[in-house]
Symmetry: C2
Subunit: 187 residues, 2 copies
């Protein structure tokens, strides 16, 4: 039943938007009582969080697969950046409801967002550590400083509101910025 509510909510949000929908309207549209929804979800946001979490897990799977598709750390940086931009643009722009949920999620730092950002940071760190071990990357700069700056450079292409302002850069930015990051990592 939980999954059915989420699926029905997703369809409803797609047509009517996430922001404007109330739990009452949602219950009416699904054909169940508001109380029944509250048996499974504490709030509209709780439903939104499940949708958001599914969406971010999908991006996570895609970028992890892109990174795993090579064992050359410099190339992993390129693939991570490219996959992240491609997946995010596709998911946020394909359905207005997802974009609205993503904006709410990013603005209020919903738990799935915090988890996702941690995952991306961990992926970056894994690549940098591997690259340092193999001698592909320099080792003088503190690891956390290097990872934090790479994350800051990638972040504008993960965040839904920022990404929307960056859509005209989306074609060239992953390549240009990956090359820039790799120059900064040169031993």
């Amino acid at each position: 039943m939980r999954d059915q509510i989420v699926a029905a909510a997703q369809t409803h949000f797609r047509h009517h938007g996430y922001d404007k929908t109330t739990v009452s309207e949602l219950a009416k549209a699904i054909g169940i009582s508001k109380a029944y929804i509250y048996k499974f979800f504490a709030s509209k946001q709780a439903i939104g969080e499940v949708i958001c979490s599914d969406c971010l897990e999908e991006i996570d799977r895609e970028i992890s697969a892109a990174v795993a598709s090579t064992d050359h750390p410099p190339e992993q940086i390129r693939r991570l950046f490219q996959a992240l931009v491609t997946s995010s643009v596709r998911l946020f722009s394909e359905a207005r409801n997802l974009y609205e949920i993503a904006v709410a999620a990013a603005s209020d730092n919903w738990p799935p967002v915090v988890l996702y950002e941690k995952r991306v940071r961990a992926l970056i760190e894994d690549i940098v550590v591997a690259g340092r071990q193999r001698g592909d990357f320099e080792r003088k700069t503190p690891l956390d400083e290097v990872c934090a700056s790479i994350y800051l450079i990638i972040r504008p292409y993960m965040h839904p509101v920022i990404l929307k302002q960056n859509l005209d850069q989306v074609g060239s930015a992953p390549g240009l910025l990956s090359s820039h990051i790799l120059r900064s990592l040169a031993p």
Copy 2:
């Protein structure tokens, strides 16, 4: 009279917002006829452009002064980034009307914005060229590629909508990202 209309409009926008104000309301508030405003300005946006232009020229003066305060190109990169963030945060957050005008200006690429972005790009290029001549920076990567990627890294801290989403990074980002840029520029 032109200047007086702009000054009165700025005060009016400060209290009532830019987006919601019409030229009729503006005329009424200033105590002149709508036709008289149209003698000087083709639209509300034309007034907004003057305010926007003044605001961007102020940022431009501050960042140019910051760059001119040293002749060491690596330090110029740091000062440019820091001054840009400090000025932008101050201007966009000090008055709601400026933020609203900045958002409209950035979304629709008003002429003063195009000019301002060109100025920042030119400043970056001047610094990189000087640093290459002095041997501070590497010369292998094509100049336009280096400048484009530095601009892409700085851009999220110039753009009003993006900057608003980045406010929690504003303390550490200029330092971290300047260091990152300088590592990428190392000869």
